[in-house]
Symmetry: C2
Subunit: 209 residues, 2 copies
DNA sequence: GACATATGTCACCAGTCGTTGACAAGTTCC
DNA sequence: GGAACTTGTCAACGACTGGTGACATATGTC
């Protein structure tokens, strides 16, 4: 009743602050879904949870996106670019890779790179049968294909897949299992980075002999 | 009624073919749970499913193991050895690593190495909050600690963690995302193996410079 | 055979889930 | 002002889940 009164009195008339604004509501739901799917499993994230955190009625989620599965699929897509890693070169891949570790979990919400958020979504819901097919397609079409096209030499697909495997394994270790063998002395951290570079090079670089 | 008649007539008297046999029932439940948890998520495996596949009443699962969480924890433990990889040296780790890829999904059931089955259980239920803590403890105590103790030189924990990260990432690629860039020509397969060896060496071997 | 115990069976609970349909309230256009 | 449409609200459905207690049946012991 308070909101209706506020609406009638129209103290904030020109700003469509997401009241009766379909696209804003959709985006709010999508943002909340991304945040939750990046933290927990596909099955452990409920539509009511997503809606509640977005300040939206749970029914609207199904109505705007059709189903939870479709919402999850939408979550993995970018609004501006069409790919998770559009134009991903070896350098950008390495950069995302590094960011995956430099980012703290207590980073300011909404500030984390959207690429990283989507990788976390990928990782958390691997193993869910319903999300599995969606993830498979997204990984193949939005990561492996673009990255392998950026590579040169032989075994491009293989090298891209192995690099992604390394990235996923490290991401799981750090973000999901919370196993941090680094983050100790600066010397250890430097050695970790050096070793990481070598692993990544062994996966990605063309073989020279 | 048929089974009871059979029991009364005692055509097979000395063999307690798991009728009124607590330990056999427990093992049957545990085996079924391992099989299911190795294929699907923690949340997507129901106690009724486990019980049904084991030919057991669903109520017995809760009664024998207390809770689904405790059953999952038991699933990650070995009956004979106490560790997932007891006495795991660098060679055995590499062997498990190789097996993870050589094994086919259509392998005869019950024939797959129990170590591999447990790694698959680990991988599938990563991302499940309830299983996460259990998995974290199992990984730390049963994999990272023994492996790092087997290593020599500096940064033992770091190297073990990075090797496990590589193993997990590759396992996810192959067994869960079904992304097989190998398995083409024998030449490609050989190059894959060579590259894999280099990656693993970069993660595990002590740095020489 | 009678009892005590171990093992298995059954019905059911409380809760959550995704989804849907009926209805209310706001917006736009005539 | 009223019709047509959009957007949001509410309550409920059916299906599922993990878990529990009452009861039935078998086994072992005297």
């Amino acid at each position: 009743m308070f909101t209706t009164m506020l609406g009638k009195m129209s103290m904030i008339p020109p700003v469509p602050s997401r009241h009766r604004n379909a696209v804003a509501t959709r985006q709010a739901i999508l943002a909340s879904a991304r945040k939750h799917f990046a933290r927990e499993n596909y099955e452990n994230v409920g539509l009511r949870e997503i809606a509640g955190h977005a300040g939206v009625d749970p029914a609207l989620v199904s109505r705007y996106f059709g189903s939870k599965e479709a919402l999850f699929r939408e979550t993995l897509r970018d609004d501006d670019e069409k790919d998770i890693m559009d134009g991903a070169t070896r350098e950008t891949l390495a950069r995302h890779f590094a960011q995956l570790f430099l980012e703290k979990d207590d980073a300011p919400p909404g500030e984390r790179d959207i690429h990283i958020e989507r990788i976390l979504i990928l990782l958390h819901s691997i193993g869910s049968p319903k999300a599995g097919q969606i993830i498979h397609n997204a990984v193949q079409a939005d990561i492996l294909d673009p990255v392998s096209q950026e590579l040169e030499g032989e075994d491009r697909e293989m090298r891209a897949a192995m690099a992604l495997a390394v990235l996923m394994g490290m991401g799981i270790m750090h973000n999901m299992l919370s196993i941090d063998t680094l983050e100790c002395t600066p010397e250890e951290d430097a050695r970790f980075e050096k070793r990481l570079t070598r692993i990544f090079a062994a996966a990605l670089e063309p073989m020279d002999d």
